[in-house]
């Protein structure tokens, strides 16, 4: 029904457009050149006035409707049920009511629940129809108001352009809202976590065992939330990735910029870019299908026992993934070095290798460092490779042949299939997410600043 409502609003805007345009056409016929704006703008003005408020209204309505109805339903439950009930109990009631309302009945529900389910269905239907009525009447009133304002001297173009300005500014604000949303939601949930688990335990504790009993009768650990092994695991895997990617990426960029012919470059560069376009879930599958068994076999040949999800396999494959970033950013940095510096070096009789190592690399170093930092931030935030190829147990080790776990792995495993937001296990994922966000943000800001400042030096 919502889809049809959107179509109806669109159709009404079109109608408004034609109404506006034909009205203006009549003005033109009557007053000639005295009409301020072209008929097209009268139409556009009417269309924006009719479509936009209704659209915003519907979106806001849809976003808030379920929450409001849920709260009303809970309030309407008899006090014998809700008195002294915890939030999780209330949400249990709510999901039971919704299940009954949608016809998924597993056991005979209590009469209160059944009545609430009926109310739920009724209110939903009422809310749906109310939204349609309100939206359509808002559109109609807007159409009437727009029509009333139209006159030969009416500045329709300016009015329409002001609406455009508002739309554009709102869109730009959305980008900021996303950032604010990330920060607020992460800190809010993380604060709730830190009320249950003290921050010093999280940041300095050496034991990570987030499995806790969800029901009281369940057998499970008591939960330990010392995140140090998770952080060190993340750093270990990112370090392995950088050890693989930096030399290969840098040397290939050097070769492409300094030695390769235009044709060779034209073929190789797109091929390297394919590596960047491969989805990370593919790399993850590659790691468990090919790389991890190969590393295990190589280890058993020389008598080493290697864990099936070793940090080496995950980090190595991640290295392949970030390789194109390093090579293309180094490529940019090397190309930004002015030709005159190369020419000067050659004029003194230096060979190409000497020019590269003594002149180009020092000159391009800030750009390359920026690229490596960006790649490091990617390696820290990368999810799928490590979720599929790295381990789940948090061990405090620096041995790349052991299985380690990472921040992203823990976030995914903590949140898959679990939606209650009131136990420390789920909330700890948000604390980890906050750490991840802050650390990658710092790396990114630093890297972007280095890269930008350095570019300006030569431009």
């Amino acid at each position: 029904m919502t889809g049809y409502l959107f179509l109806a609003i669109l159709a009404l805007s079109l109608v408004a457009f034609y109404v506006g345009r034909s009205t203006a056409n009549r003005f033109v016929a009557a007053h000639g050149a005295e009409v301020h704006s072209r008929p097209l703008y009268h139409g556009a003005f009417a269309a924006v006035w009719v479509g936009l408020p209704a659209l915003i209204l519907v979106v806001l309505w849809l976003l808030s409707q379920d929450g409001v109805i849920d709260r009303l339903i809970l309030a309407s439950l008899p006090s014998s049920l809700t008195e002294g009930a915890s939030t999780s109990q209330l949400s249990l009631y709510l999901s039971e009511i919704k299940n009954v309302a949608s016809g998924r009945i597993f056991s005979e529900p209590s009469p209160e629940i059944r009545a609430a389910a009926e109310r739920y269905q009724r209110w939903h239907a009422i809310a749906g129809w109310a939204m349609v009525v309100v939206a359509l009447s808002v559109s109609t009133i807007a159409l009437y108001l727009a029509r009333v304002r139209m006159a030969p001297k009416f500045r329709a173009r300016q009015n329409f352009e002001r609406a455009l300005d508002i739309i554009m500014i709102t869109s730009a604000v959305v980008a900021i809202l996303v950032t604010i949303g990330i920060i607020v939601s992460l800190t809010y949930e993380a604060l709730q976590f830190f009320m249950l688990v003290p921050p010093q335990e999280f940041f300095f504790g050496l034991n990570w065992e987030p499995q806790i009993a969800i029901r009281e009768d369940q057998v499970a650990g008591t939960g330990a939330f010392g995140a140090v092994p998770v952080f060190t695991g993340t750093l270990l895997i990112a370090a392995i990735a950088l050890i693989v990617a930096v030399p290969i990426g840098l040397l290939s960029a050097l070769y492409l910029v300094e030695f390769a012919s235009e044709r060779f470059r034209g073929i190789v560069k797109p091929i390297l870019e394919i590596l960047a376009g491969v989805p990370t879930v593919v790399y993850g599958f590659f790691a468990i299908l090919t790389v991890a068994p190969a590393i295990r076999e190589a280890g058993s040949l020389i008598g080493l026992s290697i864990s099936p999800n070793s940090a080496l396999a995950a980090g190595g494959v991640m290295g392949i993934m970030i390789l194109p970033f390093i090579s293309s950013l180094s490529d940019d940095a090397l190309r930004a070095v002015p030709q005159s510096m190369r020419d000067g070096s050659f004029a003194l009789g230096a060979t190409r290798a000497e020019t590269i190592t003594r002149v180009l690399l020092p000159a391009a170093l800030p750009g390359i460092v920026g690229g490596v930092l960006l790649a490091a931030s990617r390696a820290i935030g990368e999810t799928m490779i490590v979720v599929m190829a790295a381990g789940l147990t948090a061990t405090l080790t620096a041995n790349p042949l052991d299985g380690v776990t990472t921040v992203t792995v823990q976030i995914v495993t903590l949140l898959i299939g679990d939606t209650s937001f009131d136990n420390p296990k789920t909330l700890s994922a948000f604390a980890l997410g906050l750490v991840l966000f802050v650390s990658t943000l710092c790396l990114n800001v630093l890297a972007l600043r280095i890269v930008r400042r350095y570019r300006e030096k030569y431009e």
């Binding site: 352009e161 739309i167 500014i169 730009a172 959305v174 980008a175 900021i176 996303v178 950032t179 990330i182 939601s185 992460l186 949930e189 990426g249 040397l251 290939s252 050097l254 070769y255 492409l256 030695f259 190789v268 390297l272 394919i274 590596l275 376009g277 491969v278 989805p279 990370t280 879930v281 593919v282 599958f285 590659f286 299908l289 090919t290 392949i320 390789l323 190409r352 290798a353 590269i356 190592t357 935030g381 990368e382 999810t383 799928m384 979720v387 599929m388 992203t408 976030i411 995914v412 898959i416 939606t419 994922a429 948000f430 997410g433 991840l436 966000f437 990658t440 943000l441 990114n444 972007l448």
Partner: protein
């Protein structure tokens, strides 16, 4: 006092053996560096080659499927003519499986025989009979998928020479299957099911239809939101915004947003869309919203680049004939920037298509045996389907996973090729 203090350097003998040795060393260093560079390029391309080769080697077998031609007697006793959908098709299939091996009497061996046909055979038969109710009472021959172990056996993935206890099919099963082969009942046609079926617990029936529809809906939502928002924001920032601290902040913010790990967007979606707004879990709507927020910075950045590349002379000419600032942009600059914007959009959507982690967090990894009907239904997407299959223990899912990856890469290559085509077709030099 006029003594000349300038010292001429010692004459250097360029042809001396020492000089030759130095030269040789320097040239060797030069060649070495060149070699290292070439070696790393070859390594990088080799790794890509290994990646693709390993996917093709494991994945190509999933594009064909072993079928067995079976005679089914659709007995009116089992399948009532007035309501064929409620018939006992399991019994019909069991009968047919027995008749497949008329000379096998041993009960244990017959149980083995019935395992050759896929577990989904009754459903396939039911769908066929419901579509063609006139065949009730007749005997028909249908080609139905073989179950996974026999599919693997037929494709040669299971080695018949291995000792029996290390194989998934016993000697008896191989012998029975070979009699079918001798009678010419076994065929391996192209596996349309891979594209037409939704997910299933049985590898021989599992397909990508659900994942492809889910990905399509999510990308649709992503496009509908991020495309207009991105273009509007970019036009504002590039053409209208004053240059001050605030717009600087917005710009830095957008650049940073483009580099935020995707899983953080998943956390945002989980906390905001699902917990606060109460949108349904696993729905393509939420997936698309999260992907849209991720694509938005990319959209803004590419649109700004496209707008920046339009020369000022166009704007000045339009302003000169009396167009307003908005008219300059809507009538002149934007149409010229469209190819660049579209190219960037397609590349941004291609990235969104391959994104997995945020979709996992909002639950788009549900096990669903039918494709979603709309943006509010639970769904999976291609990358999350790959993730689910990669986790499945059955041997048949390994090749399915590779095949799904090949399909995903196929979509990505198609999108990128289309973007390149657009760029070349509409590229304009000023």
């Amino acid at each position: 006092m006029s003594e000349n203090t300038l010292t001429t350097p010692k004459p250097f003998d360029w042809s001396s053996p020492e000089a030759a040795a130095i030269r040789k060393r320097r040239y060797a260093a030069d060649r070495r560096l060149r070699l290292y560079g070439l070696a790393s390029i070859i390594t990088a391309i080799g790794l890509l080659g290994i990646l693709i080769a390993s996917l093709i080697i494991t994945g190509h077998t999933a594009f064909v499927q072993t079928h067995i031609a079976v005679e089914f007697t659709v007995d009116p006793e089992n399948v009532p003519a007035d309501d064929p959908a409620s018939g006992n098709f399991r019994a019909v299939v069991a009968d047919a499986a027995q008749k497949l091996f008329p000379d096998v009497d041993d009960a244990a061996e017959q149980r083995v025989a019935s395992r050759i046909l896929s577990n989904g055979t009754p459903n396939i038969l039911r769908d066929y009979v419901v579509a063609n109710p006139e065949i009730i009472g007749q005997t028909i021959t249908l080609k139905v998928p073989a179950s996974d172990p026999f599919d693997q056996l037929n494709k040669g993935v299971i080695d018949r020479d291995l000792p029996e206890d290390r194989r998934r099919v016993s000697d008896t099963e191989i012998a029975l299957f070979e009699t079918l082969e001798e009678r010419g009942l076994v065929t391996t046609p192209f596996n349309w099911g891979l594209f037409l079926n939704a997910d299933s617990r049985f590898p021989e029936l599992a397909g990508l239809a659900g994942a492809i529809t889910g990905s399509f809906y999510a990308l649709l939502v992503c496009f509908v939101i991020s495309f207009p928002l991105g273009i509007a924001a970019a036009i504002y920032l590039e053409e209208f915004a004053p240059r001050n601290r605030w717009t600087d902040l917005v710009e830095v913010n957008i650049n940073n947003l483009a580099a935020v790990p995707s899983i953080v967007f998943g956390l945002l979606g989980l906390a905001v869309f699902i917990q606060i707004f109460g949108l349904p879990r696993s729905a393509p709507l939420v997936g698309g919203l999260v992907l849209a927020l991720m694509t938005l910075p990319t959209m803004i950045i590419v649109t700004r680049a496209a707008l920046k590349s339009i020369p000022p002379s166009i704007r000045e000419a339009a302003l000169g004939v009396g167009a307003s600032k908005h008219e300059v942009i809507l009538h002149h600059v934007l149409p010229l920037a469209v190819p660049g914007i579209l190219t960037g959009t397609i590349i941004g959507l291609a990235q969104a298509l391959g994104e997995t982690a945020p979709l996992l967090l909002i639950g788009m990894n549900a096990f669903l045996t039918s494709p979603p009907g709309g943006i509010m239904d639970p769904a999976t997407a291609l990358p999350t389907q790959i993730f689910i299959w990669a986790d499945s223990p059955e041997r048949g899912f390994v090749s399915r996973t590779s095949a799904a990856i090949l399909v995903l890469l196929g979509f990505l290559i198609f999108m990128n090729a289309f973007a390149i085509y657009l760029r070349q077709r509409f590229e304009r030099r000023w």
